[in-house]
């Protein structure tokens, strides 16, 4: 009898410890294979989580974005696919097809409400908004000083002053603004939509993107004409259509150098690498200012805030508990601070701004100054639009319009036609 009880006890303990110590393996696919700083951050997070949870092992595979999307599309369709993977909020098809796990159990009090809102579909949140970014107008402090252009205290040039800057830069054979659309569908459009959001204000801009406001609206046309006047004055590089995102960075600060650079605040992911890995050369002084004010703009403080790299959980995962625990480990002001200090780009996680230090504190200060008093429109056009309007918008405003190969009238006509059913 005693032996039996002893046997049961041993078995019970064995089973209990087996269950507790059961090895759980999570597969994790992410973008940022080439962006060392972000990759380091996430890998550190993985290490910390594995240390705190010895029974969980996370197997990470790093991809370039396009390759990742291709691999995911097929894996998810086949019913296989990683437990946790990188996604961006414009990929509504994941949510529409029920491929993502509801992330309501996360500690949402530690996440910015606007970030949660962007990832909410039919009332439930589906993504952890790790990366957020705004569009900033970076400038070469020395170049602007040479050109005799002073940035006002408000950090925002008027449209006229900006036109001046363009002309002055061209007179000195310097490209006024670096920008390239060789491998991405969004940078070229920055020029147009940042101007439009200021001219129209948040509500009308939303209507414009949703097809409820006609593109023939005189405010829209005037704004397009303004941007066209800049591009005609030689704003962009001649290689604009083939210049890649990474290359546009080096075009700005290294070779051949440009006066300004309209880029997302993820600028830091490439700029703060060592110079031989595509980063800023030593001694380069970068400044941040706001996108120029547009004449009679309804909201000069309005700008776009996009949620970028996020992590989502596969609805078919065998280990939902561990997966959610892993994501929950990110929701911590210390983590958010570490992200801000090292990756130096905004985040959807709530950070403790009073404690920001780190090697790039000065840059962060400038970034926050440029974003001060901003009114945000959440989401890029190509995150808010789908289907044909998105395709037309990308072709017209990302590629053709800044490159000057389509007229204002034709651009307006194409956009209006795209929304017609």
């Amino acid at each position: 009898m005693r032996t039996l009880r002893w046997l049961v006890a041993v078995l019970a303990v064995t089973f209990a410890s087996a269950a507790l110590g059961q090895q759980v393996k999570l597969t994790f696919w992410s973008h940022w294979a080439a962006e060392k700083i972000k990759r380091d951050f996430v890998e550190e997070a993985i290490r910390r989580f594995e240390a705190a949870h010895p029974n969980v092992k996370i197997e990470a595979t790093w991809y370039e974005k396009n390759a990742l999307y291709a691999a995911l599309k097929t894996a998810l369709r086949a019913g296989t696919g990683p437990d946790i993977f990188y996604a961006e909020p414009d990929q509504v098809e994941y949510m529409e097809n029920g491929l993502l796990l509801d992330l309501s159990p996360l500690d949402w009090s530690g996440i910015e409400p606007w970030a949660k809102q962007i990832w909410t579909y039919k009332g439930k949140p589906y993504g952890l908004p790790l990366e957020a970014w705004t569009i900033e107008l970076y400038y070469n402090k020395k170049a602007l000083a040479d050109l005799g252009v002073t940035v006002p205290a408000s950090l925002q040039l008027s449209a006229g002053s900006f036109t001046d800057l363009v002309k002055k830069a061209r007179a000195k054979s310097m490209t006024p603004m670096s920008l390239g659309v060789g491998d991405r569908p969004f940078p070229g459009a920055f020029l147009v939509h940042e101007a439009l959001v200021k001219k129209l204000g948040l509500e009308d801009y939303a209507n414009l993107l949703a097809g409820k406001l006609s593109w023939s609206d005189p405010r829209v046309v005037d704004t397009l004409k303004l941007v066209r006047s800049w591009t005609e004055a030689g704003l962009l590089p001649t290689t604009f259509t083939t210049l890649k995102l990474g290359e546009s960075h080096t075009y700005f600060y290294a070779n051949p150098g440009a006066a300004t650079f309209l880029m997302g605040s993820f600028y830091s992911s490439r700029a703060f690498n060592p110079p031989d890995k595509g980063g800023e050369p030593a001694g380069f002084q970068v400044g941040i200012m706001k996108y120029p004010a547009v004449p009679q703009g309804a909201c000069e403080e309005c700008r776009t805030l996009a949620v970028g790299g996020s992590y989502v959980v596969n609805a078919g995962t065998k280990n939902p508990r561990e997966a959610i625990e892993f994501l929950d480990a990110f929701v911590d002001p210390a983590m958010a601070n570490r992200w801000l200090e090292n990756v130096v780009v905004q985040t959807g996680l709530k950070a403790d701004l009073s404690k920001i230090g780190g090697p790039h504190a000065a840059y962060l200060k400038e970034l926050f100054a440029a974003d001060a008093n901003a009114k945000y429109f959440f989401g890029l056009p190509n995150q808010r639009m789908q289907g044909k309007p998105k395709e037309v918008f990308t072709q017209v405003f990302n590629n053709a319009f800044p490159a000057g190969t389509i007229s204002v009238e034709d651009a307006v006509k194409q956009m209006n036609a795209a929304y017609a059913r």
Partner: protein, 311 residues
């Protein structure tokens, strides 16, 4: 052939297989492997695509939608733009490639020394993958340092430099130029071989008639190699209707859909747009299949009529 008689035949020689009783066992054995592959990877996929085209095909379910996809396709001006581009390509290319190929073949026919070397040199573009060709020509068309603009600047025609694949007005012609570059050599080599295999009596007869070499070529040689020419035209037409790789690696269908072909548009709808639906892209495939079929039939009918008129 000597081996037929040498070894001992395994069966008695009295029963000879009669031609009018086909050996079904052997026939099935010979055809089975090929047809298995064919049915599994060609016939069935075609039927499945047809099945997809009347449904919305998502990862979890496939919902029957009748002809809704086809109706949407009729209204899809991006698709029709792609059709237009592809057709222009498929009609212009054979004209250019076969004509130039013919002229070059005639030039070589005049027995220039080093024929074998030229044949290999002119054939190299065809041996390269479209990917390789695409990458090379993106460099050639580069606005700042590409060979095309460098050449123009070197001969003083700097005013004509273009963003060859960045400008919607010249992007498609630039790509058509690339495929012409690729395939002219191929056509030339095939036509030359055809010319050389013509019976010499015909050519001697023309010689006797005291025709000039131009007349001889036009009236004698060309009609005789007409089948080859027509084959090459049809081959070129079909090839251009299918084209994907070159566009994908150079312009991806841009700028402003000026180089969008049906295959790139289909690929984008199936794998790049924010949807998992494979039904609509399947509809595109079905409609395109019908169009290609019609094109090929039309072409062969056209040439057959022409031939009949000759005789």
């Amino acid at each position: 052939m000597a081996s037929l008689v040498a070894p001992t035949p395994p069966r008695a020689a009295s029963t000879a297989l009669r031609v009018d009783r086909p050996p079904w066992g052997a026939i099935v054995a010979f055809l089975l492997p090929a047809f298995t592959v064919y049915v599994a990877f060609t016939a069935y996929p075609v039927l499945r695509t047809l099945w997809n085209s009347v449904r919305t095909v998502l990862p979890r379910n496939a919902e029957f939608v009748g002809l809704a996809n086809y109706a949407a396709l009729a209204r899809d001006d991006l698709f029709w733009r792609a059709v237009q581009n592809t057709f222009v390509w498929a009609c212009v290319s054979p004209l250019a490639e076969v004509t130039i190929g013919l002229l070059l073949a005639l030039a070589l026919y005049a027995r220039i020394p080093g024929r074998r070397f030229f044949r290999i040199a002119w054939f190299t573009p065809v041996l390269m993958s479209y990917i390789v060709v695409g990458i090379i020509w993106v460099w050639i068309y580069n606005y700042d340092w590409g060979a095309a603009n460098a050449l123009l600047r070197a001969v003083g025609l700097g005013a004509y430099v273009q963003a060859w694949i960045g400008d919607p007005r010249v992007a498609l012609p630039s790509l058509i130029f690339v495929t012409t570059w690729m395939w002219t050599g191929f056509n030339m080599v095939v036509l030359l071989a055809a010319m050389h295999s013509l019976p010499s009596e015909v050519l001697e007869a023309a010689e006797l008639d005291n025709c000039g070499w131009a007349a001889k070529l036009w009236h004698v040689v060309i009609p005789l190699i007409r089948p080859t020419i027509l084959n090459l035209v049809v081959l070129s037409f079909i090839g251009k209707m299918k084209i994907f790789d070159l566009v994908w690696i150079t312009t991806k269908g841009g700028p402003l859909w000026s180089t969008e072909t049906v295959s790139t548009y289909l690929y984008k709808r199936a794998f790049e747009w924010s949807t998992f639906d494979l039904g609509y892209p399947s509809t595109i495939a079905v409609v395109w299949f019908v169009i290609v079929l019609a094109g090929v039939l039309g072409l062969t009918w056209l040439f057959r009529t022409r031939e009949r008129l000759e005789y």
